[in-house]
Symmetry: C2
């Protein structure tokens, strides 16, 4: 049938134009479903994110969308809520839908989950990656981030630095913690293990961590939080208990969740946390590009793309207060 020629094949130019014209006039559109059944490719990709409501994810998603949409791919966007049951159910459902690939943003990578993905289409991981680096990965430069933060705090004279880490299952959180320890050592600073706490990236976990720190004999002069929400929780708790940030204590965040947008959301001056930026949009773009490439040319060595980060000095860090050491 002539339709086949609408794309490629051998056909006389004149005939081709005639057909095209008729088809246009009739408003005929080729069925994506039938094509998918035939070719086993759907031009759709599954994107899993932990929580669409956390502002860092929409930005990553926008980056992905930007590049895949330009190539006529459509995204199935799914919230997993850090719930491993849900995660699996969603992947199964997307597998049934024959997505051409998965982009997994900050997912908890249990063995079960990875096994499910094993026989499926290509996957690219953002932020968290499987132990074995045999798969495509895009993430921020965690080592650099910690270095920037530590440089900044050290310049301000801080030595007693607390660290509130992210969840143990997050490879990013682990990397950052490891880098914190080695970074402190490299600067000849001691890490007081009672000041290394575990949080879960939420505001509330920041408050809890701050409470724990408050109970310590001597307070740190600075605390590095796993992300901006945790930092906000910490600041909130301290301020409610009579400590001033940054005068009495410096607090830093991570991710720059409230980054100023091109279209004017989140103007900086309303969210003055000193933090380290994550190139969210670029992470998404890079992942999208890898995805498209995998779809077109399966095989090849796995990519591992590490994007640079930047320090954002704002209003929650100040020179160390030596009096705190005896508080």
């Amino acid at each position: 049938m002539a339709r086949a020629l609408s794309g490629k094949g051998y056909v006389e130019e004149e005939r081709r134009r005639l057909i095209q014209q008729t088809v246009d006039r009739l408003g005929y559109r080729t069925s994506t479903i039938a094509r998918a059944l035939r070719t086993q490719r759907t031009s759709s990709i599954g994107v899993l994110i932990a929580d669409i409501t956390n502002p860092i994810f929409p930005q990553i998603v926008k980056g992905i969308d930007e590049v895949v949409a330009a190539d006529n791919h459509t995204m199935f966007l799914c919230n997993t809520d850090e719930d491993s049951q849900k995660q699996q159910a969603i992947v199964r459902s997307l597998l049934d839908r024959n997505v051409d690939g998965f982009v997994l943003v900050s997912q908890t990578l249990t063995d079960d989950f990875l096994k499910l993905l094993e026989h499926g289409p290509p996957c690219v991981f953002i932020n968290r990656r499987p132990q074995a680096p045999v798969m495509d990965y895009v993430g921020p430069d965690n080592a650099q981030s910690i270095r920037l933060l530590l440089d900044h705090l050290c310049e301000l004279g801080h030595e007693r630095i607390a660290y509130v880490a992210g969840p143990a299952l997050s490879s990013t959180a682990q990397e950052r913690l490891t880098n914190f320890r080695s970074g402190m050592a490299a600067r000849g600073l001691a890490v007081d293990e009672s000041m290394v706490l575990r949080g879960n990236y939420s505001f509330e976990s920041g408050r809890v961590a701050a409470e724990t720190l408050s109970a310590l004999e001597s307070l740190p002069t600075a605390v590095i939080a796993a992300n901006d929400f945790v930092a906000m929780g910490i600041i909130d708790y301290f301020q409610q208990h009579g400590l001033k940030v940054p005068e009495d204590l410096s607090v830093t965040g991570f991710d720059d969740a409230f980054e100023m947008q091109a279209d004017g959301h989140y103007p900086l001056r309303f969210e003055g946390i000193t933090t380290v930026d994550q190139p969210k949009r670029d992470l998404g773009r890079a992942a999208g590009r890898i995805m498209l490439q995998r779809i077109s040319y399966p095989g090849g060595a796995p990519n591992s793309i590490i994007l640079p980060t930047r320090l954002r000095i704002r209003n929650t860090t100040a020179p160390a207060q030596t009096k705190n050491r005896q508080a």
Copy 2:
């Protein structure tokens, strides 16, 4: 073939179990694509949002997802960036994909766009609706919102109230403006037309509006902004030009974009704009429910669901400063 029986039909219980068992053992999964081709239903819905990066949308999306995912429907989520070309391209592409329905969040509803939707699957509109109310719609109670805001400002003694509206193409913006005018009249207050400005929902348009207001002979004592970003822009401009908010001038927002989340994002005290809440999650849920119902039972009268809003008094409103009247 026995498979057909895996769902419904007449089959002996024992046979059925046997088949089920075998099928499970083989890890067989039925192909969504083939089913879609046969039944012309894809169990997927297209969701168009203006900008995933604006925090009010993810919340609405989460509401939609929550209810449609529970019914095994998957969302194609697409950004339209308020770009009418893009909008049309996306709808065409989703139409080709045979989505079972559309949820259109805050879309600009041009005639061309509506015509495109006309012969497609069911649509439910959130926030902005077509002129003719012949289609399903879910939105916040704009009349109530304005009333709450005006009550609050009047109680504080404000009479010279400026209004920075949203884009003319937004039905929501229009409704609010109309209600502002009638609400002012109902209170015996005059609307100074030089203090009714047009913005486009962005931070920057707030700054521009504030600049315009500043040039007026006499400043308003309060300004109602089209949304929280515009309010932030206004506050920002005034503060940079030596006016204190709320001491010298009150400013209110709309939407409560920075609403405290269950999981701890955006704690209120960091974003103290007096604003009027929008039940974002519920808007999404309601739209999702209507969608599912339309898919299962086509036909029936269009729904029009208006959800109540709440006033959020925070730190950008205070009693009117009479001196401003002569400023």
